[in-house]
C-alpha cells in the first residue's frame, strides 16, 4: 500500500492513532497518521489548533498522558525499532539524547530555579559518560553555539529575554546531538525580528549537527523557509504531503488550497480573503467519511460516506481526497 511511499530511513510512523478517553466520550486526536523522515531531513507539520500536531509529537516521545490518552494503533519506527514496543527504561535513553524536543513557550519549559548552564549540563550528565565538570564545559560550549556568551551561563531563565530563552531551549535539545529534533511552534511566542534570528540559528545548527527535524507550525511562511517536506494535518490525519516546492506550487487538497487562500499575502494586493467556511470539527464527534467534507467547496455526495485513501498524484506527493482518488484509479485502469 501507500506505506511503501513512507519508507524513510530514520523515522517511519505508520497508521498512528491516539485517542483520549474522557468522561464525555472519546477524543480522536490523531487518526491513521503516516510520516517518514530521512536523516537530516526536515518536515513541516502544519495545521490549525486541534489538528493533532502536538499530540503527534508527544506520541513520538511517548509523553502522551495516560490515562486518558492512549496510542490505540500504529507503529513509530525510529532507527529500526518500534518506539511503542520498547520498555520505559529504554525510552528514557532515547528521550533527550536520540530524540529531543523544543517547546513553544520558553518561559514554562525551563526551570526557573536552576541556572541555564546547569539545565543544559543535566541532559549531558544523564546521557553521556562524562564528569560533572565536563558536562558543565559542554553546556557552556552549547550556549556559545546558540549565541549566548559564556559569562551569562550562570544566570537564571528570568534574566533572559524570550528569544534568548528559546536559544537556551535549543541548546538543551541539541546538547546530546540527537538524530531527531521535534520543534513545537518554537517561534510562535517571539516577535518577528527575534523569530528571524532564531530561525536562522536553527537552520545553521541543523546543518552543523545533521539533525532531522519535525517542525510543528501553523505558519506556512516558516515551512517555506526551513523545511524540506510538508505534511498538512486536518482533524488528526495528514491530508496532504509533498516536497516543499511541489506543495507550494501545486497544492491539491481543498483544505491546503483553503489555507493558502486564507492568508493575507504581503506580495500581492488582494481585495478580499477567501476563508474556509465553517469551523474545525469536534474531535469527539468527527464527521463520517472525509473529515473535511462539511467545509469543503468541492465536496461530492460520496465524501460523507467514504474515508479517502492516500493517492500519490505525483512523485512523493500524496493526497487524501476522493477527487484525486477517482482520477488516479481511472488512469491506472482500476
Amino acid at each position: 500500500m501507500a506505506n511503501e511511499l513512507y519508507r524513510g530511513k530514520l523515522l517511519n510512523i505508520s497508521d498512528l492513532s491516539i485517542h483520549f478517553f474522557i468522561e464525555e466520550g472519546t477524543v480522536h486526536a490523531v487518526n491513521g497518521l503516516n510520516i517518514a523522515l530521512a536523516p537530516g531531513e526536515t518536515i513541516g507539520l502544519v495545521g490549525e489548533t486541534g489538528a493533532g500536531k502536538t499530540t503527534t509529537a508527544l506520541g513520538i516521545m511517548r509523553l502522551v498522558q495516560s490515562p486518558p490518552g492512549m496510542v490505540v494503533e500504529g507503529k513509530i519506527e525510529f532507527e529500526g525499532r518500534d518506539l511503542l514496543e520498547i520498555s520505559e527504561a529504554e525510552m528514557r535513553k532515547v528521550r533527550g539524547s536520540k530524540i529531543s524536543m523544543i517547546f513553544q513557550d520558553p518561559m514554562t519549559s525551563l526551570n526557573p530555579t536552576i541556572p541555564v548552564r546547569d539545565q543544559i549540563a543535566e541532559v549531558v550528565l544523564l546521557h553521556e559518560n562524562v564528569s560533572a565538570q565536563q558536562a558543565l564545559f559542554k553546556a557552556e560550549e552549547m550556549l556559545e553555539k546558540v549565541g549566548i556568551r559564556k559569562e551569562r551561563s550562570r544566570e537564571y531563565p528570568h534574566q533572559f529575554s524570550g528569544g534568548m530563552r528559546q536559544r537556551v531551549g535549543i541548546a538543551i535539545a541539541l546538547a546530546c546531538n540527537p538524530a531527531l529534533l521535534i520543534s513545537d511552534e518554537p517561534t510562535t511566542a517571539l516577535d518577528v525580528t527575534i523569530q528571524a534570528q532564531v530561525l536562522e540559528l536553527m537552520k545553521d545548527l541543523k546543518v552543523e549537527f545533521n539533525t532531522a527535524m519535525i517542525m510543528i507550525t501553523h505558519d506556512l511562511g516558516i515551512v517555506a523557509e526551513i523545511c524540506d517536506k510538508v505534511a498538512i494535518m486536518y482533524a488528526g490525519s495528514v491530508v496532504e504531503t509533498a516536497d516543499k516546492y511541489e506543495l507550494f506550487k501545486n497544492p491539491k487538497h481543498p483544505y491546503t488550497i483553503g489555507l493558502f487562500n486564507s492568508l493575507p499575502d504581503i506580495e500581492k494586493d488582494e481585495d478580499r480573503l477567501v476563508p474556509i467556511k465553517g469551523l474545525m470539527p469536534d474531535p469527539m464527534n468527527l464527521p463520517p467519511g472525509c473529515p473535511f467534507h462539511p467545509r469543503c467547496d468541492r465536496a461530492m455526495p460520496q465524501c460523507s460516506e467514504i474515508v479517502p485513501e492516500n493517492t500519490e498524484v505525483a512523485d512523493g506527493h500524496v493526497v487524501r481526497c476522493l477527487l484525486y482518488e477517482a482520477e488516479h484509479n481511472k488512469e491506472k485502469g482500476v
Binding site: T193, A196, A224, L263, I266, E270, P275
Partner: protein, 318 residues
C-alpha cells in the same frame, strides 16, 4: 476627506520602581473618516497603550486627542459617556474580554441597557438579534455562554458588542491574533464588510504585517514608544525607508519557497523602555547607524508627499 481622529504629541509614561516607563513617547497621527490606520510593531512598542490612551481606558500623561475637532482628553464625565458611544474597543483575547457568567445575548445587550437605547424589552431583543445577524452569529446561540464557543465566534460577540451603540470609530487591538488562519480570514472579511456598510473608522493594532497590509489605508510603524515611519500601505511595502521597517519586512517568512529574499537579521533585543537611549532608539540594533544617531533623536519628517520617516539617513532632499 475629513479627519475623524487626530492625535498630537501623545505621551503615556507608567510609574515603575526603576523610573518612568516611556510606553508612548510623543506620537502624532491622523485618521480620516471611513479609513483604517494600521499600527504595527513588536511587543512592548506601545501600540496597545496607544489604543487604550486614545479611548481613555487609561489616562494620557501628555498630549491631545481630537475627535471631530474636540479634545477627548479634556472631556468631562458626561461628555466621555457620549464619546464612548461613538468610539468602541475590540480586545485581543476573546476568552478574557467576555464575562463568562453572561450569555451571548446579555453581553450584546449590556451596552444598550446601560445607555438606555431600547424603549422596552421587545425592542432590546430585536436589536440584539439584529446585531447577531450582522456579525454572523446564529440566533440559536442567544442563550449559550462564551465558554461553549470557539475563538472566532467569541470574537464575533466582541464585535457585535462594539457595534451595539452605532459607533463611528473602533479601536481593534490585535483582534485576530488569537485565531487560526481559516477563522482569521472570516473575521477580517467581516470587519471589512462592516466598515463599508456602516462607514466605520478603525485604528487597527497588530503585530502581523500581512494582516495590517490587508486591512489598512495607512500604516504607522512603532518602535519603543515612537512612530518611526508612516505612509500609505502601498509605499510602506514598496518603499520602506526606516532601517527598522526594512528589517521588519525582511523578517516575515514568506509562504513561497521560490522567493529568496535578502534577510536583515537585527542584533540583540529591544532595549528597555524605562531608560531609553538618548538618541535614536533604534541605534543599538541598527545596521546603518551613524555617529549622529547616538545623541540626536531623529524627528518624524515628511521626506516626500505622504511618506514620514524618523531617521537621520532619510533627509528631505537626499
Amino acid at each position: 476627506m475629513s479627519v475623524l481622529l487626530e492625535v498630537k504629541n501623545l505621551k503615556k509614561y507608567f510609574k515603575t520602581k526603576r523610573g518612568p516607563l516611556h510606553a508612548v513617547d510623543g506620537i502624532d497621527f491622523k485618521i480620516n473618516k471611513g479609513e483604517t490606520l494600521g499600527l504595527v510593531g513588536e511587543s512592548g512598542c506601545g501600540k496597545s497603550t496607544t489604543g487604550r490612551v486614545v479611548l481613555r481606558l487609561i489616562e494620557a500623561t501628555d498630549g491631545e486627542v481630537f475627535f471631530e475637532g474636540e479634545d477627548v482628553l479634556k472631556f468631562s464625565k458626561p461628555q466621555m459617556r457620549k464619546f464612548r458611544e461613538n468610539a468602541q474597543f475590540v480586545f485581543q483575547d476573546p476568552f478574557a474580554s467576555l464575562n463568562p457568567r453572561m450569555s451571548v445575548s446579555e453581553i450584546i445587550a449590556e451596552p444598550l441597557i446601560i445607555n438606555k437605547k431600547a424603549a422596552n424589552k421587545q425592542e432590546l431583543i430585536k436589536r440584539v438579534r439584529e446585531l447577531m445577524g450582522i456579525v454572523g452569529l446564529a440566533e440559536a446561540l442567544e442563550n449559550v455562554y462564551p465558554h461553549e464557543l470557539d475563538g472566532g465566534r467569541r470574537q464575533r460577540i466582541g464585535i457585535a458588542r462594539a457595534l451595539a451603540l452605532n459607533p463611528q470609530f473602533i479601536v481593534q487591538d490585535e483582534p485576530v491574533s488569537a485565531l487560526d488562519v481559516s477563522i482569521q480570514a472570516q473575521v477580517l472579511n467581516l470587519m471589512e464588510d462592516l466598515q463599508k456598510e456602516f462607514g466605520l473608522t478603525y485604528l487597527f493594532i497588530s503585530h502581523d504585517l500581512g494582516v495590517i497590509k490587508h486591512m489598512s489605508n495607512n500604516i504607522a510603524v512603532m518602535y519603543l514608544g515612537k512612530i518611526v515611519e508612516m505612509s500609505d500601505y502601498k509605499s510602506m511595502f514598496a518603499d520602506p525607508q526606516h532601517p527598522y521597517t526594512k528589517a521588519l519586512l525582511s523578517a516575515i517568512p514568506v509562504p513561497d519557497p521560490e522567493i529568496k529574499r535578502e534577510r536583515i537579521i537585527l542584533e540583540g533585543d529591544v532595549p528597555s523602555p524605562i531608560s531609553p537611549p538618548p538618541g535614536c532608539r533604534f541605534y543599538g540594533r541598527c545596521f546603518a547607524r551613524m555617529d549622529e544617531c547616538k545623541d540626536v533623536d531623529p524627528v518624524l519628517t515628511e521626506i516626500y508627499p505622504g511618506k514620514l520617516v524618523a531617521c537621520h539617513l532619510c533627509k528631505k532632499d537626499g
